[in-house]
């Protein structure tokens, strides 16, 4: 707890400096990214990067071992008709499915990410969240996607949220921690920025927009605000933090716009799946369709791309 206290003190000094965020200005900036024209070689390179950054996700009450196995196969064989394609970055599942997923992707380089801390609401006592996290890690999860207690955050109990993240970080051991802010519930960009700073200083390896269960999810405005928090932290400390927009990114165009934003805000160093991820279930096939178009010159029907 001493360590947490030190961190918290350090954070609170920073927290007082969390800059104001002007929504209109952010919208304008984001619109500029969307006017970037990505063509030819840069388009193909961007699409392949995007593919390799996807956390292929299934997070449903009705998930079964069968469903998870099928998704894991897809993660490693995105479109075998086209040789040389990368795999996705990770598969993202509930803790109960981690063991199965781990076995299915073994040796492929695809990581297993598990949501935890009473995902998606986070409305559970801390010891339950710790147990949830440790279980997922013990089952073999390489990455943990936790949710913050939005209720506590909105009630102004920032210390609680900070301690919770720091505690879960400890429970993660070697697993990398992604902290889901659930920005759709935080409502303002000022809150998004505040929560980003809080999560980063509390020990997040990645910050992530959404659970995918709440709308709006990963809007570019929200992602931009979080990227700026990452940038300020990097400029101050030299420590890189990863970013994962999740939910609502289902087209190649939007994915490329996100990559443009990452490149122009943080630089090309962030353009690997070590530092940037897309949490998405349907993005992969749209990217594949665009890659096939770029390679062959013609669009193929969606029936030619497997749905798992």
């Amino acid at each position: 707890m001493k360590k947490n206290q030190d961190k918290k003190n350090r954070f609170q000094a920073e927290y007082l400096n969390s800059p104001a965020v002007d929504k209109v200005g952010v919208e304008e900036r984001v619109a500029r990214f969307q006017t970037r024209s990505i063509k030819d070689a840069s388009k193909l390179q961007g699409l392949k990067m995007a593919l390799n950054m996807i956390d292929l996700t299934t997070l449903e009450g009705k998930d079964t071992p069968g469903k998870v196995k099928q998704m894991c196969y897809k993660a490693q064989h995105l479109h075998d008709l086209l040789p040389g394609l990368p795999t996705v970055a990770a598969v993202c599942v509930y803790p109960s499915m981690v063991k199965i997923a781990k076995k299915e992707v073994a040796g492929s380089g695809v990581n297993v990410a598990s949501v935890s801390t009473a995902f998606p609401s986070g409305q559970a006592p801390l010891d339950v969240k710790i147990t949830d996290t440790k279980f997922a890690v013990d089952e073999g999860a390489d990455e943990i996607d936790m949710v913050i207690s939005r209720g506590k955050f909105l009630a102004g109990e920032y210390n609680y949220v900070f301690d919770e993240i720091a505690t879960i970080k400890e429970a993660c051991g070697k697993a990398r921690l992604k902290v889901i802010l659930e920005t759709g519930e935080l409502a303002t960009l000022d809150n998004v920025r505040k929560a980003s700073d809080l999560a980063i200083y509390a020990g997040a390896d990645f910050i992530k927009t959404s659970t995918g269960k709440i709308q709006p999810a990963a809007t570019m405005q929200v992602t931009y605000t979080m990227l700026m928090a990452i940038k300020d932290y990097y400029d101050k400390t030299g420590i890189m933090i990863g970013m994962k927009p999740a939910g609502g990114i289902s087209t190649s165009k939007l994915a490329l716009h996100n990559l443009v934003m990452v490149k122009e805000v943080l630089g090309s160093a962030w353009l690997t799946n070590e530092w940037f991820r897309f949490g998405a279930s349907s993005l992969a096939n749209d990217v594949l369709m665009q890659i096939m178009k770029a390679e062959t010159g013609v669009y193929q029907s969606s029936d030619y791309f497997s749905i798992d």
Partner: protein, 487 residues
């Protein structure tokens, strides 16, 4: 935690994405547009207009002289008397709407030609200049048959023949700002575009021709300063509207002194952009960038004097420098270019002269590392820190991508410094406090003040200056009032 970049960084660059030019039609030679016809200049002289991005000749344009101007004014007078001032206002509106619609239809062509002739980026021509120009026509078309409601309890009459002289920084947009309200109020027009950027005005003449506007209502006479002088000095012109440098503005004001000519002047500026410590810093940085580097700084209201509160100055300057490195400078036709070409060789020399002065004055210069195309006129975005009010670069209008940065401590101090200039065109205020915004807007002596944004234009909003930035307003109702007689 990774402090080092574990994986090798693969650069992701944007492939060239040039806007096509095959759809545009440029004639080898353009004559004067007088009385609805294309007329050869009486001198027989033509001058070349070039693409400042690569110095290639685009076309040859007629050099109008006094005789040609006289012809144009006579045509305008005849059209005013016989057609335009006696036409039902609702009919006038239809023509103006028609012009706006044809402009929209040909927006892509206008944008490309604007970029070729002026050096501005295609993104700006396409997303700002051309749509805004169309909107000015649409907006004023709406007023044409509602003039009696525009100025309650006053009777409204048109003025007559308006002589209009426009600059090279927003060639089509300035033509629209001038022509649209003049026509809506029932006046006829003789317009002279700038010598480095005549092409979109000539394209507009083609559009006006296509719209079936009665002959002589709009006349476009290309040429140099002496052509403009001929318009100003013509005895049968009732109103002069000029946008351009303060020096020329002064000459014009002297020339019309003692005549009955009405005059509006939109001149230079050295506008203050003020950043308080509680501002949304990252958005303010974008606003500073947009304020000074929009259109390569060729903007009369450019936020060329930056005032940053001292306790956030280091942070803001560091962020600004960082941001400069992600701007793309290059071919204005590339859709990803952020900073295009300087409008002319002369202007580039002026800018470089000021950069040299800035260095000699001991200010610290910062330019990002970016490759400059070999041909054409380019200037990298430039910051000067360690600047005082007494520096020449903080006093005189540079009209280029050069920002001077000063710091301040208190509200009163920054108001004093912001107002301590012969100019008074625009200002920007960045703060999270609404009350502070209102405090500053009442005390800053500038015609336009933006709060938490910069360089936003709209046809409904008046634009114009105090002091040496000129007088009269363009845009909105105020813009209309410059083209009517209230009786």
């Amino acid at each position: 935690m990774a402090t080092k970049k574990n994986t090798p960084v693969v650069e992701w660059d944007y492939s060239p994405s040039l806007e096509g030019t095959s759809h545009i039609q440029l004639k080898k030679q353009y004559d004067l547009f007088i009385d609805g016809k294309w007329v050869k200049p009486s001198s027989g002289k033509y001058f070349q207009t070039i693409n400042p991005a690569n110095e290639e000749v685009l076309s040859e344009v007629a050099y109008g002289n006094e005789k040609d101007v006289d012809l144009a004014v006579k045509a305008a007078r005849k059209a005013y008397k016989e057609v335009w001032s006696v036409m039902p206002a609702s009919e006038r509106a239809k023509y103006i709407y028609r012009i706006a619609r044809i402009m929209q239809e040909r927006a892509r062509e206008l944008a490309v030609i604007e970029t070729l002739d002026a050096g501005k980026t295609i993104r700006e021509s396409r997303d700002i200049d051309v749509p805004l120009a169309c909107n000015h026509f649409f907006y004023y078309a709406g007023w044409a048959d509602k003039l009696e409601y525009a100025f309650p309890n006053r009777k409204v009459e048109s003025i007559g023949v308006a002589g209009q002289i426009i600059p090279w920084n927003f060639p089509l947009l300035m033509a629209a700002w001038k022509i649209a309200p003049a026509l809506a109020a029932g006046n006829t027009v003789v317009l002279k575009p700038a010598e480095t950027t005549p092409l979109t005005a000539l394209k507009l003449a083609e559009i006006i021709e296509a719209s079936g506007l009665p002959a002589g209502v709009v006349n476009i006479v290309t040429g140099f300063g002496d052509t403009g002088a001929a318009i100003v000095n013509h005895a049968d012109v009732d109103k002069i509207a000029f946008t351009g440098s303060t020096n020329v503005g002064k000459i014009i004001q002297k020339a019309v002194a003692g005549t009955s000519k009405k005059l509006t002047l939109e001149l230079g500026g050295k506008s203050a952009n003020i950043i308080f410590d509680d501002a949304p810093i990252d958005q303010a940085v974008e606003g500073i960038i947009n304020g000074i580097f929009f259109n390569q700084g060729h903007v009369c209201c450019a936020g060329s004097r930056l005032f940053v509160q001292e306790n956030v100055a280091d942070k803001v300057i560091a962020k600004l420098k960082d941001r400069l490195n992600s701007l793309y400078l290059g071919n204005p036709l590339d859709k990803n270019t952020d900073i295009g070409a300087i409008n002319s060789k002369e202007q580039l020399e002026t800018i470089n002269k000021y950069i040299k002065i800035g260095k000699q004055e001991g200010a610290e210069m910062y330019q990002p590392t970016c490759s400059i195309p070999k041909k054409g006129f380019y200037c990298p975005p430039t910051l000067f820190t360690n600047v005082a009010q007494s520096n020449v670069i903080a006093q005189e209008e540079i009209f280029g991508p050069v920002l001077t940065i000063q710091t301040f401590r208190t509200v009163d101090e920054v108001i004093q410094k912001a107002n301590n200039t012969p100019f008074g065109l625009a200002a920007g205020v960045w703060t999270d406090k609404g009350s502070r915004i209102f405090n500053l807007t009442t005390k800053l002596r500038a015609g336009v003040i933006w709060a938490n944004t910069y360089n936003k234009f709209d046809p409904t909003s008046p634009f114009g200056g105090y002091k040496e930035s000129g007088f009269g307003r363009e845009g909105g109702l105020h813009g209309l009032s410059s083209y009517v007689k209230l009786v």
